[in-house]
Subunit: 335 residues, 2 copies
């Protein structure tokens, strides 16, 4: 029998809370035998949501939390003051070991700060990066770091590359994942100071399969599995990816509605187009893990639906089953 896995889900986090987090929890426990979920948040509201669904009642419990951290709040203050919030309660469960992982669609800043301050880093991890999967022509790539630590140093980027490789190999099942560093040209001498200093560290590291620099233009091709950069650049890549994608798709839709001819055409291409665009959506793989903590914290999009929450819970299970944190500790011991 597989080990039981407990995932705390912040039922009040995100634009669609509590409806979608609750539904996502139900979907996840129905999908996998060994998953248990603890929903944190306003108990009464959560219980009335849960009543809509059929599931094994032993596998979902509720922990009452009266406060909610809003998106606009200064993160450090929010984490400190709102002890009885759905997020802080979930973070504390991971810290104390009553949950293996947590999933939240709430305030990014609070999740990042809370992960580091409350859950804490694995000893030896300099900075825990946020590592979302981004869609590509061929599947997904891991973008690491993407918002947790600005003004990073070369040694941080080296750790990101190693932890990202472990994640892609054991959670995503990519054999010997290819690692590249984001650069403004492919030649070795190109780059800013940080990239120039990091490049030789990556090149000589025996633990990773470093393939060199990658220009932003080539990221969507999906030829590389782990894309290393510092958080400011990663954040720009992640957000622009979403922004350009959303703008182009809305312009294509709008363009199709300009004449009767194109409207008829639009009806005919719709199913095929929907399928194509679905393949350029990484949310089915789950959220962005904050890697290198004593436990696992997964941040999903603010507008997450049950599908992304459920996928994130399954991702947590895989993370634990594959012993990712043990592998990270082993990697650090070998350094």
């Amino acid at each position: 029998m597989e080990d039981k896995i407990v995932v705390a889900v912040d039922a009040m986090g995100g634009d669609n809370a509590p409806v979608e987090p609750v539904k996502g929890a139900v979907d996840a426990v129905n999908a996998k035998e060994n998953i248990n979920v603890v929903l944190t948040g306003k108990e009464e509201i959560i219980r009335s949501e849960l009543e809509k669904y059929t599931y094994n009642k032993e596998k979902i419990s509720v922990k009452n939390a009266t406060e909610i951290i809003e998106t606009g709040e200064p993160p450090v203050m929010a984490i400190k003051k709102k002890k009885d919030s759905s997020l802080v309660m979930a973070l504390n469960m991971v810290k104390e070991g009553s949950a293996d992982a947590l999933v939240s669609a709430g305030s990014s800043g609070a999740i990042l700060v809370g992960g580091q301050v409350i859950v804490g880093r694995i000893k030896g991890v300099e900075r825990p990066p946020l590592a979302p999967l981004i869609p590509t022509r061929k599947g997904v790539s891991l973008l690491v770091d993407c918002g947790a630590n600005v003004d990073a140093r070369p040694s941080h980027l080296l750790q990101f590359a190693k932890m990202g490789s472990i994640y892609m190999e054991h959670v995503m099942g990519v054999k010997n994942p290819k690692v590249a560093i984001v650069n403004i040209g492919v030649e070795e001498e190109k780059g800013n100071q940080l990239v120039k200093e990091t490049y030789p560290l990556l090149k000589t590291c025996p633990d990773i399969n470093f393939v060199g620099s990658i220009e932003a233009r080539d990221i969507p091709n999906g030829d590389v599995d782990v894309i290393v950069c510092e958080a400011f650049v990663g954040n720009v890549i992640l957000k622009l990816y979403e922004g350009v994608g959303a703008t182009l798709i809305s312009m294509v839709k709008q363009g199709m509605m300009t004449s009767l001819r194109s409207k008829i055409g639009a009806l005919l291409v719709k199913p095929a187009l929907k399928k194509t665009l679905k393949s350029f959506d990484a949310s089915e793989y789950g959220g962005a893990p904050l890697i290198g903590l004593n436990g696992l914290v997964v941040k999903t999009h603010g507008n997450s639906t049950a599908k992304e929450i459920s996928a994130s819970i399954l991702q947590c299970a895989l993370f634990k089953e594959q012993g990712i944190n043990e592998k990270i500790k082993e990697m650090l011991n070998n350094d």
Copy 2:
């Protein structure tokens, strides 16, 4: 009568040289009375290209250059050694004043280095940024800096904002252009060290219309006219813009070819779609100017067609007619 304007065009630069640069030159002199073009490169080849077209022979001349700088060459070395290349000859013409501006689709690195080393900066300009126009839902925005100077300082970014504003106002005709700085959140306290130090400089500068931070996700909306960032980030934005756009469009096209139904639909939506996607293409506005030089250097895409070359030549004319360099000097004198 309007003043005569002389633009040197590197006829050997880019993937489509000399065919497209030559055709672009012909289109430009046919489009505007006061433009004269000097094509630099292998005279015999250029002359045989020119024979294909009808134009006022007095308005295009050829300057023979026997060498070509290739894309892969180390830029500094190439500029230094290949004195008889089409690019260096054009750069020297701007330096000596026999041309007002130059347009090249050749090696980006060589154009950037050559602009700074041969043409030289306006006195007081700390760093001349590369400032391409990027397409948005509403038109175009100027992205500055985009590849000329990595590891920039706050004072550089302030100058980029000022020079970018002058360009957008007087070349693109945008009244009181809105300026924003690329950031990882919209709150004033967000950002890396560079952004945090630059923000107050922009906020208190009386010469620009600063509207605050912009997240990469919102760039494609086109709510801002001048987007300020350091070159590494700008390069990532520019390249990713192109990469995500190209990947999505090719996936949409491919998606439409998956069934008979969608193929018929594709035929019907094609004209409308083509029009929409054309509006998301900045090349009709010209290339990326390197701003702050004693003259003007415009870098176009490596795969430029005559349309982009011709638009760039007209852009050079507008740049001179509007006295952009005089306005930059005036701005520097007021500092």
